[in-house]
Symmetry: C2
Subunit: 326 residues, 2 copies
């Protein structure tokens, strides 16, 4: 700690404050102390780990919704990597509640996990700074950390939507709906951006009544899809912002007198057995989870260097529902 203090040009007390997450230190000083810690490879965790030798190693996963198949696949992949490293995985879900995310992440830390994989719901991850300074490794997945520099493994959301919307435009569609999750969710915002940019690049105006962002509860999505299919100029195609939206949209579309095209973000089980089978932009949740967990264990094994941001591509899978002519 002396070396850290000397390198950061601060007193021992300040280093201790930063490491223990106490208040009264300017962000700039926190940054200096953390850089010094990083540079010197001082991780309090190392000694802590020796102290609790014989205790089962563990990592914590905070995700959004246990019951969403996207996150179940991601979880299982993280768990498999943890198991390969002789570590147990504890999982908890935030249900998109920022406070709940923080409570879970800190509860995992209090129970001495070695590291965290987080699908964030919060807009401010500075609460993790003391934990990270104290040696906890943290990797964000699906969505990046906010107000904190940290490792993140993401899908190229805007790029994936671009592929899907371009596909619909090629089938002759001009009035294309975009139904997404709550705007404050990073992935939802990025997907909406992909939609708007693609429409603009194709010279197609977007009527704001075609765009609906909000909770993906079935009632809301059902009402929105139904609304967009009414009136003199209904949409002829729907881009669904995630698998929850796709599944609900499908239930409305099968009851329409004329076919409406559908492309969904995220693949889902049985999408290929429906009629028409559902065209999707597939993410690879297992690969997201695996990549994040592998990065976490590399960090735990001592890999240093600046935070990494890895981006995986989506993949258009053509099956039928997206090839209905506009």
């Amino acid at each position: 700690m002396k070396d850290v203090a000397a390198r950061a040009g601060v007193g021992l007390k300040t280093v201790s404050r930063v490491v223990n997450g106490e208040p009264g230190v300017t962000p700039d000083t926190v940054q200096r102390v953390q850089s010094a810690i990083e540079a010197l490879g001082f991780r309090r965790n190392d000694s802590a780990r020796v102290l609790r030798k014989g205790r089962t190693a563990s990592v914590g996963l905070v995700l959004e919704d246990l019951a969403d198949p996207f996150y179940s696949s991601l979880s299982r992949a993280v768990e498999e990597v943890a198991r390969d490293h002789g570590s147990l995985l504890f999982t908890g879900s935030s249900a998109e509640d920022p406070e709940r995310e923080q409570e879970l992440a800190l509860a995992f830390c209090a129970r001495r996990v070695d590291g965290l994989v987080i699908v964030p719901a919060s807009q401010d991850h500075r609460y993790l700074q003391p934990e990270i300074a104290a040696g906890i490794a943290a990797v964000f997945v699906d969505r990046p950390a906010e107000q904190l520099e940290a490792d993140a493994v993401l899908t190229d959301n805007a790029g994936g939507v671009r592929e899907g919307v371009t596909h619909l435009i090629r089938q002759g569609h001009r009035r294309i709906a975009f139904i997404g999750d709550q705007r404050r969710i990073h992935t939802a915002g990025e997907r909406l951006r992909g939609y708007r940019e693609t429409m603009a690049d194709a010279g197609l105006p977007v009527d704001e009544s075609w765009v609906s962002m909000g909770p993906t509860a079935a009632e809301r999505v059902q009402a929105e899809v139904t609304r967009m299919l009414q009136g003199p100029e209904p949409v002829t195609a729907v881009f669904a912002g995630n698998n929850r939206v796709s599944v609900t949209a499908l239930r409305v579309l099968v009851n329409q007198p004329r076919p409406v095209a559908l492309v969904g973000f995220d693949d889902f089980e049985l999408a290929d057995l429906l009629s028409p089978a559902v065209t999707v932009v597939a993410q690879d949740p297992a690969r997201l989870g695996r990549t994040a967990a592998q990065l976490l264990f590399r960090r735990l094994e001592g890999e240093t260097g600046p935070p990494q941001r890895l981006e995986l591509s989506g993949r258009l899978i053509v099956r039928g529902s997206g090839e209905v002519a506009g």
Copy 2:
């Protein structure tokens, strides 16, 4: 502890041994000490809880497979009840590995959860005796504890299968396949029993080539369904022992020249949108999880009395695939 020792007719050291899970105590004495603890309402947890006031309350859930939608719904229901009680939920999955189950359950206990909900993979839960004696509450769900008297919330598996198989017999089927999970899994054994009893009661012989029990990996199920549809006397109906089997069986059945009836145990998302829509015996995983968690919190709030065994009924949902004539 003196009262416990007096009531159980043993020394203080013996009580301490039982509470701390140390060896050298006969099962009979363990039982006596536990009954005394129960009778006196002595739960070490109470004082432990006071000691760690201000610390977030938590419960642990050990389930079989995070990525199976049946368990995701169950998890979410447990989580909602935990949240209503101001408690965090930690989840881990055993992947049907008894050692992994034990490791997870004990790791949760070591991290001071207040209680456990367990979907067991193990055949012997005596390892939990010291924890329970020390005040941890444990409720088993989906499958009962083995070699341990404990609370359990189950589905009436044999009864549910009876309803489904009777339905197939009524459509005229005589050669009905049963494809289930590994025989050592309680639910798989119970469902097989339901099948055999129903066939016997209807006076229908069962050719052993129609019965296949084993891992529900897609390759195995696919090969088994394919095999049963070949030869001079193929099966005309398939009873699928769980949702993983149904989904794979479906993929084989859609490619058959003549229709084969299918009834599955467990409902699954989009079953109603397939063609034909899939007839199932639906369990209610959310209700299983909710009931188990509510029982757990009643125990944590001090409800005593002998272990309870609650059994929920399955429900036949007729949709089309089970009404193909035999």
